[in-house]
C-alpha cells in the first residue's frame, strides 16, 4: 500500500444513504458537520476529533469512521 493521505482518516458520509435528518449535525461537539443541500457534510474536517458521535447517532448507518489498528511502538499511517 502507498501512503494514505489524511483525508482517509475522516468520517465518510454516504450521500446517497444520508436522509438529511440532521442528528449528526446537531450533536457534533465541534461543529465539523453542516447541513448542505439537505445532506450532512463534513465542512470543517480540521475540527473533527474522531469522537464517533456522528456514526453512533446516524439512524441509517450512513456515516463510517475507519480505524487503523496497530502496535503502539510501530504505528504509522503508511501501511
Amino acid at each position: 500500500m502507498g501512503c494514505m493521505d489524511n483525508s482517509n482518516w475522516l468520517p465518510r458520509i454516504d450521500q446517497i444513504a444520508c436522509t438529511g435528518c440532521g442528528e449528526c449535525v446537531a450533536l457534533c461537539p465541534t461543529d465539523a458537520l453542516e447541513q448542505v443541500s439537505d445532506k450532512a457534510q463534513l465542512t470543517r474536517p480540521d475540527a473533527c476529533t474522531y469522537c464517533t458521535v456522528c456514526e453512533d447517532v446516524c439512524p441509517v448507518s450512513a456515516i463510517a469512521l475507519p480505524f487503523l489498528i496497530c502496535f503502539a511502538d510501530d504505528c504509522t499511517d503508511e501501511r
Binding site: 482518516w9 475507519p66 480505524f67
Partner: protein, 229 residues
C-alpha cells in the same frame, strides 16, 4: 468493474511467487500463467462477485482491500475474511471449478488479476509439487475455518475482539483504508454497539489506547491474555 489490458506482467509475477501453491512453479511457468491473467479495477464498495456466481478463477489483489462476506436472508452481513495486496481469494472455486462460495466486495479502490480456473487446473495436472502445495493450502483453510467456528462458539466477544485486533496489527497488508466498527462487528458476528463497548473496556484495561483514528495496542501481553492466547 473495469477490465483493462495488463499494465505490466511483472507485478503479477511478484505476487504469484508468494502464493503458496504457485510458489513451487519455476519463474517461466509462473510467467506463462501471468500471460493468461486478466486485470480489473473496482471502485470502493463495488461488488466483485456474488455468492453462487460463475467463478472467473483465482483472484489476486494488486492494491486495495477486499472483504469476503456471507449474507443472511435479512441482508445482515458476516465478514469471513479481510484481504489486502498480494493475497488471493476464490481459491476454492478456482480449484474445484464450482460457483463462488461467498461474496467479494471492494473496500477501497482495488486492482486485481484473475487467473482462469482452466489455467490453474492444467498446471495442477502438470506439476505434482504444486498439487501438494494446493492440498496444504486447502488444509490450512480448513484449519482457519475450524478456528473461526471455535472463536464464534467458545469465546466471548471481548476475546474475539482481542484476537481480531492482534491479527489486524500483525498483518500489515490489512492497514489499507482502515476498518470501521460496523465491519469489525460484521466479522465478529455481533453489533457495532457491542464492539464500541468492548473497545472501551479494552481501553479501560490498559490493553489498547485510542489516538484519534488509531487503535493502538499498548500492552501486547495483556491483550493476548484477554484473547485467551
Amino acid at each position: 468493474m473495469t477490465r483493462t489490458v495488463l499494465p505490466d506482467p511483472d507485478p503479477l509475477l511478484e505476487h504469484l511467487s508468494k502464493i503458496p501453491y504457485l510458489a513451487p512453479l519455476t519463474a517461466e511457468n509462473q510467467a506463462a500463467i501471468a500471460r493468461q491473467a486478466l486485470y480489473y479495477t473496482f471502485e470502493p464498495d463495488e461488488l466483485i462477485f456474488l455468492e453462487g456466481d460463475l467463478s472467473r478463477g483465482l483472484w489476486i489483489i494488486e492494491s486495495g482491500n477486499v472483504k469476503i462476506t456471507k449474507s443472511s436472508p435479512e441482508g445482515d452481513e458476516f465478514i469471513l475474511h479481510l484481504l489486502g495486496p498480494g493475497q488471493s481469494f476464490n481459491d476454492v472455486a478456482a480449484l474445484d471449478d464450482g460457483p463462488t462460495p461467498a461474496n467479494a466486495i471492494a473496500m477501497s479502490l482495488v486492482t486485481a488479476w484473475t487467473v482462469p480456473s482452466a489455467v490453474l487446473l492444467d498446471a495442477l495436472e502438470r506439476y505434482p509439487a504444486m498439487a501438494r502445495a494446493a492440498v496444504r493450502m486447502l488444509a490450512g483453510r480448513v484449519r482457519m475455518l475450524n478456528q473461526q467456528i471455535e472463536d464464534l462458539t467458545l469465546y466471548p466477544v471481548i476475546a474475539r475482539l482481542a484476537r481480531f485486533l492482534l491479527s489486524q496489527a500483525e498483518d500489515p497488508v490489512l492497514g489499507g483504508p482502515g476498518i470501521t466498527r460496523a465491519a469489525i462487528a460484521a466479522h465478529l458476528a455481533t453489533t457495532p454497539e457491542t464492539v464500541s463497548r468492548m473497545l472501551a473496556k479494552l481501553q479501560e484495561s490498559g490493553a489498547v489506547r485510542f489516538d484519534r483514528h488509531r487503535i493502538l495496542i499498548v500492552d501486547h501481553d495483556l491483550l493476548r491474555s484477554i484473547a485467551v492466547l
